[in-house]
C-alpha cells in the first residue's frame, strides 16, 4: 500500500532477507515441534535428528492428562480475558489524560508512573503478598486480574506515545461541536487509536498468558493454577519432564497465534482511519 510498486530486484532482496530472518526465528521452533513427537531418549540422543523415528502423537494426550490442564486452561482464559479488558479500559483513559492535557504535576506524575516499572518484582512481591492476603485474595484469581483494571505503566506509556502523535486540531473541532471531554475520548479518540488498542491487547494477552511468577506466588492449589504455571511445574528440582513440557508449550502457543492472526487484520485496517 505504501510504496505502491516494487521492482523485481528489490522484491528478490526482500524475500531473501525475509527468509534468512525466518530461519533464525522459526528453525528452533520447528526443532522443538518435531521433538514433541519423539521419545525422551530419542530427544536427547546424539547426533540429533530432526524427525522422530516413530511419530508419538500420544505424547500430547499424555502431557495434557499429566496435570488437570482443562482446569488450567479455563483459569488462563479467565485471567487473560479479565486483564486484557481491564487494561484497554483503564490504560486508554489514563494515557489520554497524560497525552492530551496539560495539568499541574503532570510531569512528576508521569515520571512516577515510569519509575514504578524500575523496581524489580523480587522485592515488592512479599509486601504485595501480605496486602492481598489481608484482602483475602490469596489463592484466588483476583490478585492476577484486579490490578489490571487500574492500568499498567507499560501500556499507559505506550498508548501515550501513540496518542501524542495525533494532531491537536482534532479535538478542537470536536469541542466546538459541543462534545464534552469524555465524549471526545470515547467517540473521537477510541476509533482513531483502535490499532494501538488492539496492539496493547495483543501484547497483554501473551504477557499474561505466559506469566508464571504471579500465579506461582499468589495461587496455592492446583484447581486455581494457570497453564503457564502447570507448564513450569514440569520442571522439577532434579528432573525435567521435557517431552510433556514441550507438548504443552506447543499447545499453549496456538490460542495466542490465532488471536495474533486476527489482530493483524485489525492493525492493518486501522490505517484507513489514520490521521497522522
Amino acid at each position: 500500500m505504501s510504496q505502491m510498486s516494487l521492482s523485481k530486484k528489490s522484491k528478490v532482496v526482500i524475500y531473501i532477507l525475509l527468509t534468512i530472518m525466518a530461519i533464525y526465528f522459526i528453525a528452533p521452533f520447528f526443532y522443538m515441534f518435531f521433538t514433541t513427537f519423539k521419545t525422551e531418549s530419542e530427544a536427547i540422543a546424539y547426533p540429533p535428528s530432526l524427525f522422530p523415528e516413530v511419530w508419538h502423537f500420544e505424547n500430547y494426550i499424555n502431557a495434557w492428562n499429566a496435570q488437570p490442564f482443562g482446569t488450567y486452561f479455563i483459569n488462563s482464559v479467565l485471567v487473560t480475558a479479565g486483564t486484557t479488558l481491564g487494561q484497554i479500559v483503564s490504560c486508554s483513559l489514563v494515557a489520554y489524560g497524560f497525552a492530551r492535557y496539560n495539568f499541574k504535576g503532570k510531569n512528576i506524575l508521569f515520571m512516577i508512573l515510569l519509575a514504578t516499572m524500575m523496581i524489580p518484582w523480587d522485592v515488592t512481591m512479599i509486601p504485595q503478598y501480605m496486602e492481598f492476603n489481608l484482602f483475602g485474595w490469596i489463592n484466588t484469581l483476583k490478585p492476577l486480574i484486579v490490578p489490571a483494571w487500574f492500568g499498567s505503566a507499560y501500556y499507559i506509556f505506550l498508548l501515550r506515545q501513540f496518542m501524542m502523535g495525533i494532531p491537536k486540531d482534532f479535538e478542537e473541532a470536536a469541542r466546538i461541536d459541543g462534545c464534552n471531554p469524555f465524549q471526545i475520548y470515547l467517540k473521537i479518540f477510541m476509533p482513531i487509536i483502535k490499532p494501538s488498542l488492539i496492539l496493547i491487547a495483543t501484547l497483554n494477552m501473551i504477557t499474561v498468558w505466559n506469566d508464571y511468577l504471579g500465579p506461582l506466588i499468589f495461587l496455592q492449589d492446583r484447581s486455581k493454577y494457570t497453564l503457564a504455571l502447570g507448564l513450569a511445574s514440569f520442571k522439577g528440582v532434579h528432573d525435567t519432564q521435557i517431552i510433556p513440557m514441550l507438548c504443552i508449550t506447543v499447545i499453549m502457543i496456538i490460542p495466542p497465534i490465532i488471536l495474533f492472526i486476527i489482530a493483524q487484520k485489525y492493525i492493518v485496517e486501522g490505517t484507513s482511519g489514520s490521521i497522522k
Binding site: 505504501s2 510504496q3 528489490s10 526482500i14 532477507l17 525475509l18 530472518m21 526465528f25 522459526i26 526443532y31 547426533p47 540429533p48 483503564s90 483513559l93 489514563v94 497524560f98 492530551r100 495539568f103 506524575l109 515520571m111 514504578t116 524500575m118 523496581i119 524489580p120 523480587d122 522485592v123 512479599i126 509486601p127 504485595q128 496486602e131 483494571w149 487500574f150 492500568g151 499507559i156 506509556f157 506515545q161 501513540f162 501524542m164 502523535g165 495525533i166 494532531p167 491537536k168 486540531d169 471531554p181 490499532p195 496492539l199 501484547l203 501473551i206 505466559n210 508464571y212 503457564a228 507448564l231 513450569a232 513440557m245 514441550l246 497465534i257 495474533f260 493483524q264 486501522g270 490505517t271
Partner: protein
C-alpha cells in the same frame, strides 16, 4: 462559572484517576515497604533488624559481586538495547513490504515471542550445548568446530543475547503498528520527489516513529537490567559467573541467600541507575522525538521537507 472551571481543572485528573487509585492501593505500599526494608537485615525466616545504611555500605565496599554484576548488566544493556532496537525495526520494515506471503512471515517472526520463557530457555540450552547441542552439530557437518557457547566465558554473554533476541517480536509489533499508521500520502508525495527507499526511511518513516522508538528504547533499558528468568534457566550466571546479571544477583540475594533487606538495597540502587538513564534519554528526546501535538502536523511536514532539502 466557578463550578465549570473546577470541572475543567479536574478533567485531566479524572482521566488518570484509575491509575492514581491503583498506584495508591497496589503499588506505593509495596514500593515504600521495599525501600524501608533496604535499611534492615531481613533473613525472611525471622524478624527484620534495623541496620541503617549497612546494606548500602556493604554493597559498595565489601561486595565484589555487586560491581562485577553491575558491569555485566551494563555491558549486556550496551549491546542488547541497540541490537534489539535495530533488529526489531528492521523486521518491522520487512513485514510492511507489499510482497506476497508477507503475512506468513509476520506470523513466523512472532511465534517465538509467544513461547513461554521457561521453554525458550530450555530450548536454547539444548541447542547451544557445546558437546551435544544441535547448533554445534550442524556446524560440525560443515567442518566448523563450534564455540563452547555456555562453557566459555567469552561466548556466554553472546549466547544469552542470541537467545534473548528471540523474543524481539513484541517490539517488532509495536514498530509495525506505528509504521502502518503512517498515511500513504506522505510516501506518495516523497516518491514523486524521487526519494530512494533508504532516504524515505530516514527522512519520513524514522522521524514519524520516534515516539515509539523512545518507548522501545526506555523499555529495553529497563528490561535489560531486570533480565532474570532467561539467564537463571539458561546459564544460571555461569560460566565462571560471566553472565551473573545484576537482576539475577538481586534474585539470589533475596531467595537463595535469604537476605531480603540486602536485595532491596540492590534493587533501589538499580532503580537509581535506571532512573538516571531514563531521565537522560528523556532529556535528549526533545532533540530527536517529534510529537504531532507539539508542532502542528503540517508545520512538521514542512520542517522535514526543509531539512531534506538542506541535505
Amino acid at each position: 462559572m466557578k463550578q465549570k472551571s473546577f470541572l475543567r481543572t479536574a478533567t485531566p485528573y479524572l482521566f488518570i484517576l484509575p491509575w492514581i487509585i491503583g498506584f495508591l492501593v497496589f503499588t506505593i505500599g509495596p514500593l515504600i515497604f521495599s525501600l524501608i526494608m533496604s535499611f534492615f537485615d531481613w533473613p525472611l525466616t525471622s524478624t527484620p533488624e534495623f541496620v541503617g545504611f549497612g546494606n548500602y555500605i556493604e554493597m559498595f565496599t565489601e561486595d565484589d559481586q555487586f560491581w562485577k554484576s553491575l558491569v555485566i548488566s551494563l555491558k549486556y544493556a550496551a549491546i542488547f538495547v541497540p541490537l534489539n532496537l535495530i533488529v526489531a525495526l528492521f523486521l518491522a520494515m520487512l513485514i510492511t513490504q507489499p510482497v506476497k506471503g508477507v503475512k506468513i512471515y509476520r506470523t513466523l517472526y512472532y511465534i517465538p515471542t509467544v513461547i513461554s520463557g521457561v521453554a525458550v530457555a530450555i530450548l536454547w540450552g539444548w541447542l547451544l550445548d557445546s558437546n551435544y547441542g544441535v547448533v554445534n552439530y550442524l556446524l560440525s557437518l560443515i567442518g566448523i568446530e563450534g564455540p563452547q557457547w555456555l562453557i566459555d566465558k567469552s561466548w556466554a554473554l553472546f549466547a544469552v543475547i542470541i537467545a534473548s533476541a528471540f523474543g524481539v517480536g513484541s517490539m517488532m509489533l509495536i514498530f509495525y503498528t506505528d509504521i502502518k499508521n503512517i498515511p500513504p500520502d506522505v510516501y506518495e508525495a516523497a516518491s514523486l520527489d524521487g526519494a530512494s527507499p533508504a532516504r524515505q526511511f530516514f527522512s519520513i518513516t524514522l522521524p514519524l516513529i520516534t515516539p515509539t522508538l523512545l518507548f522501545n528504547l526506555i523499555m529495553s533499558i529497563i528490561n535489560s537490567f531486570q533480565q532474570v528468568t532467561l539467564v537463571m534457566l539458561l546459564t544460571n550466571g555461569g560460566p565462571l559467573n560471566s553472565t551473573y546479571f545484576y537482576g539475577l544477583m538481586t534474585y539470589n540475594n533475596a531467595f537463595k541467600h535469604h537476605k531480603m533487606g540486602y536485595a532491596a538495597a540492590n534493587a533501589w540502587v538499580m532503580f537509581i541507575i535506571i532512573l538516571f538513564l531514563t531521565a537522560l534519554v528523556f532529556k535528549s528526546s526533545s532533540a530527536w522525538v517529534f510529537y504531532e501535538t507539539e508542532a502542528g502536523g503540517k508545520e512538521k511536514k514542512a520542517k522535514k521537507k526543509q531539512a531534506k532539502e538542506a541535505k
